[in-house]
Amino acid sequence: MHQRRNTVSGERSSASPTGVSRRDVLRAAALGACALCLGALGPGTTPARAQSAQPGLIGRAPSPWFEPTGDGRLRCTLCPRRCELAEGERGGCRVREHRGGSGHTLAYGNPSLVQLDPVERTPFFHLLPGTRALSVSTAGCPIACRFCEVWDMALVAPEEVMAYDLPPQALVDHALAVGATSLNFGFGEPVAFFEYMVDAAALARAAGLRVLVHTSGYVEEAPLATLTPLLDGANVDLKSFDEGFYRDMCAAELAPVLRSIRSLNRSGVHLELTNLLIPTLNDDPEQVRAMCRWIVRELGPDVPLHLARFYPLYQLANLPPTPVSTIDRARAIAFEEGLHYVYVARVTGHEGENTFCPGCGASAIARLGFMVEEVALDDGRCAECGTAIVGSWN
């Protein structure tokens, strides 16, 4: 773990108000070079068949998360949609199918997204800062957000996109080959490729990789219980604290998401939450306050909360970005309600990208976007006052 002891205050260069100095230039360049070297490791060790993506690759595998309805149909029990499928029908997620009398997933070993990123980008701020995670995702999603950032992968069927032939073992091999510390199921919706995720997670744990998931949390209790023991960290998108928003903007429900968050927290998995603030749709201060109160009450004040800025995209392409002042206000509310770690996402250079010690307020980790600039921790404790900072640092 690259933990360094640094003093925090007064280090920023006066040349740039955001404090990036010439030293940062060298550090960033080194980071880039490092990534290049890691990337170059890949070709020799990754299975050759996975090197190139194939159009419309289907990863069909039987799924245990189906039950008969008694009238010839099958009910999918993976997510709260609980789709009932006649023979040949496919679920709303576009990747689960009733075929030949049994239920199948079509998203097994055929990821469309395989990329190595800083773990901060996945986004985990309290797990192994500065390390790299291999992120994986397939086509399909059980919900349909109008502001989905990866709509051209998540909201389409596997036939419509290119995918890599990467069964679980090959995926883990690739992660090791490119020097990843963690395997992250995210960027798309991992519930869509649940069976693949579970099998790959088991292999990854056995191979010494950390297993992370970034999810909507729209999953039933039983499947989540099978996944939880395999996880080191989970970041759940709490898209709003309003049922109407979930219904109108995501074609989903809030209650199952809250249930998943509670369940993950109870199980001891490191938990972080992300809340995308969309102007006028879910940025009401009272709603934000209610959400933060719920987090503190149900999960405790140490759960990191990422407040992300919305930019016009997908179906909301004509909505202006979130005013930064709205995010600042939401952050202030979160602190008022007692949360210890509240971050601002997608406003690069904002001080809310940094981790501040809840004990003394000193900067414990300084970041620029997903780039770690300074770590001022001493064995997981604030270098200034010794307060324990929640997370996994080694």
Binding site: L31, G32, A35, L36, S52, D152, V161, P323, G349
Partner: protein, 809 residues
Amino acid sequence: MRRARSWRFPDHLAMVLMLGVTGQVGQVVLLRELLMVFHGNELSLGVILAAWMVWVGVGSRLGAVAVQRWPDPYRLLRIDATLVALALPATVVAIRALPGVIDAPPGALPSLADMALGSLALLAPVTMLLGAQFVLLARAWRELDASTDASGAAKTYVGEALGNVTGGLAFTLLLVHHLDAVQTSLAIGAAMLAVALARRQRGAALAVVVVALVGVPLASHLDAWSERLQWRLQAPRYELLETHRSRYGTIAVLRHHDQIAFFQSGHLVFSTGGVDDRAVAFEEQDAVTLAHLVLTQHRDPRRVLLVGGGLRGTLREVLRHGVERVDYVELDPALLTAAAPYLPAGTGAALADARVRVHHTDGRLFVKAGGDAYDLILVDVPDPVTAVVNRFYTEEFFAEASARLLPGGVLAVSAVSTPDLRGAGIANRNATLFHTLRRVFPEVLAIGERTLTLIAAHDPDQLSHDAAVLMRRYLERGVSSPGFAAGHLALLLEPGPLERINWVLRHHGRSADAHLQPPPASPLVPGDLARQRAQEGELASVSERFFVNTDARPVGYYHTLVFWDALSRADAAPALRWIARVEPWWALPPAALLLAAAVALRALPRTRVRAAPRYAVLVAVFTTGLSTMTMQVALLFAFQSIYGFVYEMVGLIVAIFMAGLALGATITRLFVPDQADRRVLAVVQLAVALMALGVAVALPWAGGLASPTAVFVAFALFTFVSGVLNGADFPLATSCFLALDRRPERSAAIVYTVELMGACGGAALASAVIAPVLGIVACCMLAALANATAFTVLGVGGLRPARIDAPAT
């Protein structure tokens, strides 16, 4: 047969002119209002115009039925004009209430079904009334002339065309500057009513004028209320601060907390806000990042051309790099006026900076006009959602920009994107931009996920994707930008996303059907950019037809339409994909079918006498409507690309067409002794076909003209001739049809409707299918084929002139 001339010329002619004026102004006003709701692109324009033409056609048929039943056309006209006067402003208000009915959240694009249903439902009353008025006026004119022929319709046709020209000029030069939409529609409606009443009820006409004089100023309250209603429905919890009238589209200024957002024609243009410099920089981070990313690509940028984007922060950031001069081109001065009170202090200071020269002109025209050369040209305009904006992404524009670059110069453009480009529409569009740039610049570097920035240069060593190099330049220039740091550049140039996006763009579009396939994904380890570049020679060549965007074949906006379909979930993807498969020979089967039907009708004894020639005349009418509109689209597209988008000039081209139309109809009336002679109609079809062929040959030549005056004269000539032939066609066709049908108003209505249908089909075909996929020259070829077919069909149907019987009523 013309006899009595006992009518008072000004009264009736004024009514005909007012029909043209009201039609033109009403169309522009309602079109602008609908575009505010639909966030317009070429498809929404097509949908609105199609709905307009369909209802005008239906209205003209209803008008013919009404005048058969109630034979006093002036009484019907007064009723019609009263209803128009009420319906026009009511329609403006109804359109503004439309977002309350459309099932779309704030900021969401309405679906194609919403647009079609909304347009059809809301435009129906006004357009049907206007369509009916055409027939009523034609009937009235015929009665005034005590004539039994189709001259009433022909004269009305000419008068309406002249009214269209007048209305267009009045709107552009006068109304848009002084009256809002409700006031304009009320004033125009009242004027039409007053003119209709003036003939027999002068007191009532005067009362209407008085009411209008009092009511129009007061109507501003209704306009303001309905605008607030619209934005309350369209963007709840945003506060509408003000609106500005611009001939390029209404500008709305909205506030949410301390953020100010600017919309034009319903499109989000930019947003700004914050209370201090740092907050502003965060608020405008997209523009700030774009500026520094591009400026650091040049070793020593001294002279910069910025096309668009200055108000959103780009201009302010460009000046931080110690440049000597910035030419900033912003088409619409009204945007600057609207933004001025709300601009951050830094942007205001940048606009007043002695190094900055602001030019209110078309960016394409500015670049083409020549003059100073630049180290860097940054094109910060919207995505190519329309043919007009697409002109900034074509090979010709890139070549023109290249000619304005100093040695070592850099050109940058940007467009909306998605991480790794997995969707076909967006991948096709952005790969097209990449390959088009590559046709002009050997070096193109693609950067970004949510927004793709394409940076191009001639010098292989000019561009760098090495973050350290760019960061060093940034720091050495002593740039200090609140909210931005050199480290941002490292984030933007992170190797993983950078290598993947360049790999996808470089490899996509290299087979004949690449645009129909899922875009390729990079290998798990795509390799660094130098290696990708070195291996490019092994790749197949780029499919020019679908991956090179040119003025003559603006495929960029077709791809953007497909992307829009994915965003709006309009479910038009199958139809749009079908468009991409269109081949030139597809025009032959419909032409053959038309011919076969003519032969069949001619062969059957029961249909050979009346049905065969009637069919032939209607085919001629339909094809002339179709080819005229197709040619108009082709000429306007080509003119805007070659000359530049200058509102007055484009308006003038349209006015020249209308003038040609009026002249053509007048010449026919005066100099053709027997207008029911189908041989003359056939000659006109042949002339249209030959002219279309001539334009097809001449367009590439016109593109090579260096002098803007020569370009204008050439296009004015093409347009005028097209107008003359189209104008000649209508009275001939009406007379030919009347000779076979014997009912003048019914004949006029049928011919008018069929011509509108042809025009509607031509507009849709040309702008959404032929121009982007097959090219502008193909539009002319289609027009030539259509009228050649009509010529042949007329020949098959029989060319002997028919005797005009007395009208049935």
